[in-house]
């Protein structure tokens, strides 16, 4: 019988909440003690009887003489186990209050295990025997002869515990709790405790002890951010689908929870089994954006895992990085035992296999043994095996400061370049049909189905596009299957199609049109992020307009055709105005234009172009509204972000504007846009962009600055209220690094040159796929 089955029995017998919790806690404790003793060679313990008696020992606590009453209930019950086991459990329940503990460990039996478990758990928490002694002695204060007997029994129990700890080599607390982190007392004190409790719809909690590989997926930002990340949903489902693996989640605790954990001396824990992150075999961080690096470092500290890979030993997990930032993971490489470049659903199962093989092979050659085996997986490398060499390159403009020159491999059999893991066929690849449902409202509260990976367009600044090995599509049939499975299994009423450029999906018109028809019959809506509406015909747009008239976004990225051509952004002024022609009459009244400033070759003429484009849009909107004779309903906002050159893109050597230059451009633009009436203006923090660039293009020495920044309290850097530029500058200085782009010169070798191209998948569709 499963744990939940016992809970249901307690419920069916009307056990009050506190009794249920106590019974479950004592049952868990008894199971733990029984398993530890059996492992240590104890004979004569009946695991099922212990389990049954433990979980049901107080089933009759609401009434009088609950020990005999509970035993009587068990004797009558119909349970899925042999009758003699059930009767044995009943006997244990009958004796659990008055049991005399045996003198030596040889005398221990199933009943003693359950009684002991009951004595070390107060309500639903392990408190240890000493803490309970006080309570118990107090009960018999007035009756000396009973108190004496109780005291004697206690002495035997204490001696028994000492013998159990000696025989198993583990502390009783650890045996009873299984090493679980007792975090519950913190939840009432934490803001939004739903972030930490787990147990969401479609979450998977496997038996810790029965599963060979423990993998912790660590997301270096808040729960509600991480829960909207589709990559986590994929890898969580994929790994848990393996019988030999359990995958649990840990998110960056908010500031208040981080403080509570530190005050309570508790480590960071996983949501599912509440195990310390340090107790996992592999901890996989996803690096989605550079400004989360400090969170990852802090999470390692909160977990009690040595921050540098070099400092880890036999008792520590392997810490692995994945995600888009691994196009250049060098600035954080010293924190990771392994880096996975490319598609996680290819690399992680191979990594799991390699780990299990290494473990079953007696952990041959220690930690390096596994790292070497993992290095054979495409896209996976161990930073420690590639030692960067720095040399001065005076002609590059970096003066006497040494810059990256080459890597020296530790083993000759390692590849010179790492490559990338690539999922060839999205239809065959795993995608979750039962996505996790966040307990608290997350950023994107909907079922997201990825329809395409990679991008045909290859805008020259776009790392996401260049980091993907070609374009791979999911077939419309499979997309629909996943949308409807996801909705049915989450109860969500909104689905979204995910890709870098949804409008380029071959057959998007038919897919969107079909899906909208089918979804509206199911009372659900479709949202289409990154969809260029000019790629759709009027009929489909009309359908979108019928139930969703939220804002539309358009990303020309640059203000003039010259600059748009230069950066490879295939959008014209005409595209934008034509979209207005189509969409304004349909009732779409809110528009957002995205631009980047600080792009290579940018002049103030290009900035003027941004304001001019906004002006043209406003004039066109007025014409359209006037022609239709309706009221003028049109809202336009211009949103400006700062270009930060990214490794792996054609612009990787661009150095980007300095902070003052960017700021001057923003003020100039703000003035220019203000002159166009009725247009809003939003811009991004230039200092954040500057740090983002430094971290994106850094070499391995950057890790010193990241660690310093984290130690000085940096964290949640992508949240404006937490970001401190001064702290970052001090961190770079403290690490002996210039806060400047060292790799702008065309002739210098690049630290991320280690990452080679993956295999390209060219399906011959629009534009072809280049890598």
């Amino acid at each position: 019988m499963k744990r939940e089955d016992y809970l249901k029995i307690l419920e069916a017998h009307g056990a009050p909440e506190h009794v249920k919790r106590h019974c479950m806690a004592v049952g868990d404790a008894a199971v733990g003690i029984c398993a530890a003793l059996s492992e240590a060679g104890a004979a004569g313990l009946d695991a099922v009887a212990v389990r049954t008696a433990g979980y049901l020992h107080d089933i009759a606590r609401a009434g009088k003489d609950h020990d005999t009453a509970g035993a009587a209930l068990l004797r009558e019950m119909d349970l899925a186990m042999p009758e003699e086991t059930r009767l044995a459990a009943a006997d244990i329940v009958e004796r659990h209050m008055k049991l005399n503990f045996p003198v030596g460990l040889d005398g221990i039996d199933s009943a003693a295990v359950v009684s002991l478990a009951d004595r070390v758990v107060k309500e639903d928490r392990f408190v240890g025997y000493e803490a309970r002694m006080e309570d118990l002695l107090k009960r018999y204060e007035g009756v000396p002869e009973v108190a004496a007997r109780v005291h004697e029994n206690m002495e035997r129990a204490l001696s028994l515990i000492a013998q159990i700890e000696a025989a198993t080599g583990r502390a009783l607390r650890e045996i009873v709790t299984g090493g679980r982190v007792d975090a519950e007392p913190l939840f009432m004190k934490a803001e939004r405790p739903g972030r930490y409790i787990g147990g969401e719809i479609n979450s998977i909690r496997k038996e810790w002890n029965g599963t060979p590989l423990h993998f912790c997926f660590a997301f270096p930002d808040l729960y509600e951010i991480g829960m909207s990340y589709t990559g986590m949903q994929i890898l969580y489902g994929l790994l848990n689908a393996r019988e030999d693996t359990l995958c649990e989640r840990a998110f960056a605790p908010a500031e208040d929870m981080a403080r509570l954990l530190a005050e309570g001396g508790l480590p960071l824990f996983s949501l599912e089994n509440r195990m310390p992150v340090r107790g996992f075999d592999i901890v996989g961080f996803t690096l989605q954006y550079e400004l989360c690096y400090t969170n990852a470092v802090r999470m390692l500290g909160q977990s009690g895992i040595p921050v540098f890979a070099a400092g880890r030993g036999d008792g520590d997990p392997f810490v692995v990085a994945g995600g888009p930032c691994c196009a250049n993971a060098e600035p954080v490489a010293p924190f990771f035992d392994l880096v996975c470049v490319g598609d996680g659903e290819e690399a992680l199962p191979a990594l799991a296999d390699a780990y299990l093989a290494w473990k079953q092979g007696g952990r041959r050659d220690g930690r390096d043994g596994f790292l070497l085996a993992a290095s054979k997986i495409p896209g996976v490398y161990a930073p420690a095996f590639y030692e960067p060499v720095y040399e001065t390159a005076p002609e590059s403009g970096t003066g006497a400061f040494p810059v990256f020159s080459r890597y020296e491999k530790r083993y000759p059999e390692l590849p010179d370049r790492v490559g990338r893991a690539v999922v060839a066929d999205l239809d065959a690849a795993f995608f979750p049909e039962r996505p996790l449902v966040s307990h608290i409202e997350s950023v994107h509260d909907r079922v997201a189905v990825e329809i395409m990976r990679g991008c045909y367009r290859k805008c020259r600044f776009c790392q996401a596009s260049y980091a993907c090995a070609g374009v791979r599509k999911r077939s419309p049939g499979r997309v629909k299957e996943l949308v409807f499975a996801g909705l049915a299994n989450t109860g969500s009423d909104e689905a979204s199609l995910l890709s870098l450029s949804t409008g380029d999906y071959p057959g998007i018109e038919a897919l969107v049109s079909d899906l909208m028809d089918e979804l509206s019959r199911a009372d659900a809506a479709l949202s289409l992020p990154s969809l260029r509406l000019d790629s759709l015909k009027g009929d489909t747009l009309k359908k979108i307009a019928e139930y969703k008239r939220t804002g539309l976004t358009f990303a020309p990225e640059a203000g003039t055709q010259r600059l748009r051509d230069f950066i490879g952004k295939q959008i014209t002024e005409d595209d934008l105005l034509r979209t207005l022609d189509i969409c304004l009459p349909l009732g779409f009244a809110k528009y957002k234009l995205y631009f980047m400033i600080g792009l290579p070759s940018e002049t103030y003429e290009d900035l003027d172009g941004i304001a001019e484009l906004a002006g043209k849009a406003v004039r066109r909107a007025k014409e359209i509204c006037a022609a239709r004779g309706g009221a003028y309903r049109f809202h336009l906002s211009v949103s400006v972000s700062n270009f930060a050159p990214k490794p792996g893109t054609p612009f990787e050597r661009a150095c980007g504007d300095g902070e003052e230059e960017l700021l001057a451009k923003i003020y100039y633009l703000k003035d220019a846009v203000r002159k166009v009436k009725g247009v809003g203006f939003k811009y991004h923090d230039t200092r954040m962009s500057r740090i983002e660039m430094l971290l994106a293009k850094g070499d391995r020495r950057c890790a010193g600055a990241v660690l310093r920044a984290a130690q000085q309290g940096a964290g949640f850097d992508s949240w404006r209220e937490h970001f401190s530029y001064e702290n970052w500058l001090a961190a770079f200085e403290g690490a002996g690094l210039p806060a400047a782009d060292l790799y702008a010169d065309g002739a210098l070798p690049l630290p991320w040159s280690l990452i080679g191209p993956g295999k390209a998948y060219d399906d011959g569709a629009a534009g072809g796929a280049e890598v």
């Binding site: 939940e4 009960r139 939840f187 009432m188 739903g194 930490y196 409790i197 787990g198 147990g199 109860g491």
Partner: protein, 233 residues
């Protein structure tokens, strides 16, 4: 038609907020094939409401949710089982009623009080302490305004309706209290317990009671579900 669910909120789920609970229930209803009716305004929202919000951290065996469903009576067979199959551990629908037409207003408007069980260990002489606490003519607590943070004093004695000790075995106390729970006049059981501990010289954090709401009561002192009796599915 309008249905009323009586359900439990226990275990880990005591730590999710009222709004998140509503989201969770909507999800579970939709997953089980129910289509809760939506309002027809510009921003349609599901027509469902809870009789009385449960403060974070409290357990309950008696929460009430009413919702309008498009499904006819023929679709209601097994609705409880279907929803239960979808709810996460800690939440369970224990009864399902059809709301009679002669109850025109929302259940929330009939709620007047709530019964809570306090379970804690380590209180010596709990009956006498509680009796003397209830014997006071006036109990004042400091209240912090959620928005402004301004502190003010609040009189809670009129909202302390009754109390009885269910069990008191050598310091292990189970007390049942009835506290006001009407619009604008609601006493949070944790505020009540804090005030009690203050008066009795106890440390509420050390005692950390398990608090369970066991009934939502109407003005007549009877559980609201009594109004629905006879309509249970």
């Amino acid at each position: 038609m309008k249905l009323v669910f009586e359900f439990t909120k226990t275990g880990n789920l005591v730590y999710i907020s009222h709004l998140d609970l509503a989201r969770l229930f909507l999800r579970a209803l939709r997953m089980s094939g129910q289509r809760p009716a939506y309002s027809h305004g510009f921003n349609p929202h599901p027509k469902m409401s809870f009789a009385l919000p449960l403060p974070l951290g409290l357990h309950s065996t008696c929460e009430l949710l009413e919702f309008e469903t498009d499904a006819g009576a023929e679709g209601l067979d097994g609705v409880m089982m279907a929803v239960n199959a979808r709810l996460p551990e800690g939440m369970r629908v224990t009864a399902c009623f059809e709301k009679p037409g002669d109850i025109p207003k929302s259940l929330a408007s009939y709620a007047a009080a709530s019964a809570y069980e306090f379970m804690c260990e380590g209180v010596a002489d709990a009956p006498a302490l509680l009796a003397s606490f209830f014997a006071q003519g006036s109990v004042r607590v400091m209240k912090k305004d959620k928005k402004t943070g301004a502190k003010s004093e609040k009189e809670i004695r009129p909202e302390m309706i009754g109390c009885r000790i269910v069990k008191d075995i050598r310091g292990r106390m189970l007390a049942e209290t009835t506290l006001a729970a009407a619009p604008g006049q609601t006493l949070n059981p944790l505020v009540f317990f804090g005030a009690f501990c203050g008066a009795a010289g106890l440390d509420p954090e050390a005692l950390s009671p398990i608090v369970t709401r066991t009934a939502i009561l109407g003005a007549d002192g009877r559980p609201l579900t009594a109004m629905l009796s006879g309509t249970e599915w």
